[in-house]
């Protein structure tokens, strides 16, 4: 298959199908409805099942049911609808069920609007639902990267028996780019011996639940989960850097904002200002290493986000006082321009002194 021109939302859906996802439960919401529509058409073609649930809450619980049988399953939504799924996501974590949950973020809080935003960063990286947990979060910046990361999301989910979030902003969902669906790298994954597909006199009944009435036993389960999160932190960090080796200043941005920032960086470089980029691809686990490696030699970092300043907190934790950390953001669905980012660079660096 050659290159095709697709919308970001369609790419997420097709990439999921190619990764072996045959079950989708969802409820439409702008700006991710094309994903739902594509699945409704596509899944019957591959012998899968698409079901439009009566609500986001119903959808996430259907995901819970399907995941319990060991199949690859996905749901998607946008910010307000994603909030509704939090209880179910916490149940998935507690029951150790793999699934992929997509959030195509829009302007908030509340009903907000349908324009692109990244202001659900706290929600996806710091828990979101109740209880002690973290979820691996992948944030693609291009439609081709969606293909790769959607596939990875399913693999990570199966490898650790845990839900994985794929997060993009409305622009990524709505924009069109050429993409190619190549051969997938099949990674070796553990057999799903826990799946509740019925016993055939071959052992004790399998039970999937997040309920544990005994306090000591629930603490033991929490220890087990924390060990799992520690393994994910060790193995599943993803990021990309651009010209950080000689950089005096480093912009930190993820998703589409990183692409805008890249232009501002190139413009600054042309003017003689040494600027680089760290683009976190996994938002949790947050990539600390590129900060540890640069924080004692750069003059400062600037986090650029479509939020009032959320990822910047993780940047500060990683930098830990070794260098200055600044922030530039736009909210409410306003997309920062490359000129704004460039101006911020100038003001932070004290301008160009060539």
């Amino acid at each position: 298959m050659g290159k095709v021109l697709m919308k970001g939302n369609e790419v997420i859906a097709e990439a999921a199908v190619q990764a072996g996802c045959k079950y989708f439960f969802g409820y439409p919401i702008t700006p991710q409805s094309e994903l739902v529509a594509y699945m409704a058409r596509r899944l019957p073609e591959v012998g899968g099942l698409f079901l439009q649930a009566e609500s986001e809450i119903a959808a996430i619980n259907m995901v819970y049911g399907a995941a319990g049988t060991g199949v690859r399953v996905m749901t998607s939504s946008s910010s307000p609808g994603f909030s509704l799924k939090q209880e179910g996501i916490s149940y998935l974590v507690g029951s150790e069920l793999p699934a992929v949950v997509v959030n195509v973020v829009r302007g908030g809080p509340g009903l907000g609007n349908i324009q692109p935003a990244q202001s659900d960063y706290f929600q996806v990286t710091k828990g979101g639902g109740h209880g002690d947990y973290n979820i691996p979060v992948l944030a693609p910046a291009s439609l081709q990267e969606i293909v790769e990361l959607t596939s990875e999301a399913f693999d990570i989910a199966d490898r650790y028996r845990t839900p994985v979030i794929l997060m993009g902003d409305g622009m990524l969902g709505q924009m069109m780019e050429p993409v190619e669906f190549g051969e997938r790298n099949e990674s070796e994954l553990p057999e799903k011996k826990w799946a509740t597909t019925g016993t055939r006199g071959d052992g004790a009944p399998k039970i999937i639940t997040s309920l544990e009435l005994n306090a000591e036993a629930l603490e033991q389960r929490n220890h087990k989960l924390q060990q799992k999160f520690a393994r994910i932190k060790e193995n599943e960090v993803r990021y990309e850097t651009y010209k950080i080796d000689d950089a005096d200043y480093i912009i930190v941005a993820f998703g589409t904002v990183a692409r805008i920032a890249l232009n501002a960086i190139n413009k600054a470089r042309q003017q003689g200002l040494k600027v680089g980029l760290i683009r976190p691809i996994s938002l949790w686990p947050f990539p600390e290493k590129p900060f540890f490696e640069t924080r004692d030699r750069v003059k400062g970092y600037i986090a650029v986000e479509m939020s009032a300043g959320q990822m910047v907190e993780d940047v500060r934790l990683a930098v830990n006082g070794h260098a200055a950390v600044d922030f530039f953001g736009r909210t409410g669905g306003v997309v920062p321009t490359q000129e704004e980012i460039y101006q911020k660079l100038l003001s932070v660096s004290g301008g160009i002194t060539v």
């Binding site: 290159k3 095709v4 021109l5 697709m6 919308k7 369609e10 097709e14 702008t30 700006p31 094309e34 594509y38 058409r41 609007n113 349908i114 324009q115 409305g170 622009m171 709505q174 924009m175 069109m176 780019e177 050429p178 589409t256 692409r259 805008i260 890249l262 232009n263 997309v335 920062p336 321009t337 490359q338």
Partner: protein, 225 residues
């Protein structure tokens, strides 16, 4: 490329490039005619619609008929009642940019009585590099569904086959061959091929032998110059 009729409606499958063609058509018509109105009837897309480039229309004195400003990003399937004014005013050249697929074409169905009288051109825009219209069956089904929802017959096709910024002449040839055969199969005339000005040079030989409209892209992403 000039419009054959006073009223041209652009339909197509989802993401076929209707809106960019509508904008380019409006700009071309403005060079010849005085009063141009472009109607944004897109009730499907939340972003990248005619109304999102309203400043260009304003500069060029092209009337944009779209939901009121305060409702432009409301995510409601609304169309402006002002369309009737330009439909019946013979001085206007009218371009109607409908949303994609049958769902988008549904917004056209309500003007059934207008269409009976006004006999507009209904164009199907085809990008053969999009899912579900890269086969004859897929394209035919899409056209049939659009006709049913719009309560109109498609009178012409535009070959807009591309893969965005990576489009090569190979895509253009492939799309031309596909749409020519589709045109024969369905007896719908292929009006012309639209090609980005970015590859105008490479396309010059093709443009000598075939009808071509070179188009500029107006809806850009924040990192595109």
């Amino acid at each position: 490329m000039e419009m054959n009729k006073r009223i041209t409606i652009l339909t197509g499958h989802f993401g076929s490039g209707k809106t960019e063609i509508a904008i380019n058509l409006a700009l071309n018509e403005k060079k010849i005619h005085n009063k141009i109105a472009i109607n944004d009837l897109d009730i499907i897309n939340p972003y990248f619609r005619s109304r999102d480039v309203s400043d260009i229309f304003e500069q060029l004195d092209i009337e944009l008929i779209a939901p009121a400003n305060r409702l432009q990003t409301s995510d409601l399937p609304i169309v402006s009642g002002e369309i009737y004014r330009v439909l019946h005013d013979q001085r206007y050249r009218v371009i109607i940019d409908a949303g994609g697929d049958k769902d988008g074409a549904m917004a056209l169905g309500q003007y059934y009585h207008e269409w009976k009288e006004l006999k507009p051109e209904l164009i199907f825009v085809l990008n053969a590099n999009r899912p579900y219209v890269s086969t004859f069956e897929g394209a035919r089904d899409t056209i049939e569904q659009i006709e049913q929802a719009a309560r109109l017959q498609v009178t012409g096709m535009i070959n807009n086959t591309n893969i965005g910024f990576e489009t090569s002449m190979e895509d253009i040839h492939k799309g031309y061959e596909f749409s020519s055969r589709l045109s024969d199969l369905l007896s719908i005339p292929l009006l012309y091929t639209s090609i980005s000005v970015d590859i105008e040079k490479e396309a010059s030989y093709f443009a000598k032998r075939h009808r071509v409209m070179f188009i500029k892209r107006y809806m850009k992403l924040p990192w595109e110059g």
